[in-house]
Symmetry: C2
Subunit: 135 residues, 2 copies
């Protein structure tokens, strides 16, 4: 599996413009990028905190998964992403261990990473992502 660190923490917000003020002005973090991920119907904003990024996720459509999350549970922490050597290999290992996958194969996510999600029903309620850079 070879997890090196937590690559990012995804946080669902209604408005990046509003939430960014808290992360910048109160916590003193710096937003270094804003990016739209069209196939996930979200706008994202990134803040680096040591090894890990905070990734704010604002839905760009009412039918995005993040919009549904906010409707059901309110704003808050949405998922954790672990940096792995190889996302496809990590997904395969998880499946072999009885974990239900959302993504059978890696796909491209924000910042050009290879990403894949595990189903939170198999991971004690934590929506879990694997990501990797070079494979």
């Amino acid at each position: 599996m070879n997890i090196s660190h937590i690559e990012h923490i995804g946080i669902a917000v209604k408005s990046i413009d509003e939430a960014k003020k808290y992360y910048e002005d109160v916590l003193g973090l710096k937003c270094y990028a804003v990016e739209e991920v069209t196939d996930q119907k979200v706008k994202t904003a990134f803040f680096q905190v040591g090894q890990t990024k905070i990734e704010l996720l604002e839905p760009t459509s009412d039918d995005s998964a993040v919009a549904k999350f906010i409707e059901k549970r309110g704003e808050g922490i949405h998922h954790i992403a672990f940096n792995t050597a190889d996302t496809n290999e990590a997904l395969k290992t998880a499946e072999e261990n009885g974990i239900k996958l959302i993504d059978k194969e890696q796909r491209k996510g924000a910042e050009g990473l290879n990403i894949g999600f595990l189903h939170p029903k198999s991971t004690f309620g934590v929506l879990t992502e694997f990501c990797s850079k070079n494979n």
Copy 2:
């Protein structure tokens, strides 16, 4: 404020014994400590992932905050803790910026850290903790 990294991510689980199998056997992380925090009515289990710890939280009483969280929202990510130079100073700065505090002053948490929580109503739904070692 001086946040250096994400110290830990707290995850509410019904049973550490059950969840530990996933973190160890599937993700390949190693549980290096199990500790009971009596005033928070939780048992905790720690896994180091790069700079950050995964902290599993199992309620030891039905009236613990973590038991209420699980009852309301199910198992899942409970809070994020930022490492700061000085928890009391970080709490003061947050309050001066209009953030509602759960803890007006730092107190002792797991692993002997000085900890203090911000109210999720002020932080876009994210239960947020500051912690520090040497003050």
